[in-house]
Symmetry: C2
Subunit: 211 residues, 2 copies
DNA sequence: ACCTTACCCGACCGATCGGTCGGTCAGCAA
DNA sequence: TTGCTGACCGACCGATCGGTCGGGTAAGGT
């Protein structure tokens, strides 16, 4: 019991985020969510009009957290190489802060969901907000290529690689921990992940030295 | 209609792979699978003892396809840099060949599934077979570091990056296609993906030039 | 002709799904 | 006290879930 009275609605959002992240939308029933929040199923429908709406609200919360941490890193200060470093660090930080974020994002990306779910999440505009962030990251890479601090690359490919290397990593859960034989979300693991990815990108994107 | 009479059982596996990949285990009912295969629900249970067993069988088929293509690339011929190139190409080829593979893999990795599903897939040993492949990839990287053709890296981190950059990419579906504004599984897109990732890795892993 | 076997189906089972409904209860303003 | 309101719940709804059962049908062996 961490909080005395987290307003029930917030508690529902918390447990729903946790449950949806671990087992997916279809596998989690509304009574399971309500029960985990210490409420009856009917009380859940007092706070949210439908299961799909609850899920969409959870997604919006996650996207807002990401925006709050990644957008500040995207203001163009310093050369694109430093900006990219900051962005990668920000993405890793925000995904590491809430272990559920990466999984939820991953699911929302490649889950051809239930019809009312895609309707609800489309109405909340989460996809567009994610796309907006990625567009800005693309712009940073393009700037770097144009300025000659990065070698020419396929920007969408690099973006996919960065997203895969960050989101997938923190979404990998038991699989990742089995691979590392150590926790993924420890402070050292997070710092190492940041360092390894930044070095790989900086060195892998360096322009060819012209003799 | 590719095949005149694919033995019903194979047809069931095909449509189940497609459906499970697109919407996940919990979201797909057995009657939907059977119906898509042109059969009644009862007929599905004539071929498979349970839904979980059907899913596990689908997973095994996917893992076998991957083994068949990636393991040959892992025989140590040439230096580790070339081997890694071959492995990356093999992974991309096998994931691109069947658009369902990457999604199924991703789900099996981070889906804290239903209890009988984890039991069935544990009995089929798919996790161990995936782990065995990744262990061999790890060995290649370690050899490269030991031989000095790669700079020192955190091997699990690099492995996570490679898996994320390949599996996530081909599992991203509509999201990825929206990002590229072009199909992901076209021959050109696959070739480009291969090239971009190989260059990024080779250059990013090159040891520092000693003055 | 008979029996077996493989394959398939419709009807049905209990459980659970998302969601509704009527109503209880505490707090608060008048 | 009275009346109202937001939070909450138990009981219930039709639909669908995974799975069972008995029976039907065609092929093949003897």
């Amino acid at each position: 019991m961490p909080d005395p009275s987290p307003s029930s609605r917030a508690k529902l959002l918390d447990v729903a985020e946790q449950l949806f992240a671990s087992r997916g939308y279809a596998a989690i029933g509304v009574s399971a969510v309500a029960g985990a929040a210490g409420l009856g199923k009917s009380s859940l429908f007092h706070h949210f009009p439908s299961k799909a709406d609850l899920y969409a609200t959870v997604l919006v919360r996650v996207v807002e957290r990401i925006e709050g941490q990644v957008l500040p890193a995207l203001v163009a200060i310093g050369d694109p190489a430093h900006t990219l470093d900051r962005v990668v660090a920000a993405i890793i930080d925000v995904l590491a802060e809430h272990p559920t974020s990466a999984r939820l994002l991953l699911r929302s990306v490649f889950e051809d969901d239930d019809e009312d779910v895609i309707a609800a999440s489309a109405a909340s505009g989460v996809n567009e907000r994610i796309a907006a962030i990625l567009d800005k990251v693309s712009a940073v890479i393009e700037d770097g290529v144009a300025a000659g601090v990065f070698r020419p690359v396929s920007v969408p490919d690099l973006l996919q690689t960065v997203v895969g290397a960050t989101v997938f990593h923190f979404a990998s859960g038991d699989f990742g921990e089995a691979l590392f034989r150590a926790p993924i979300f420890s402070a050292e693991a997070i710092a190492r992940r940041k360092r390894e990815l930044q070095i790989l990108l900086q060195q892998g994107l360096a322009p060819a030295v012209r003799p």
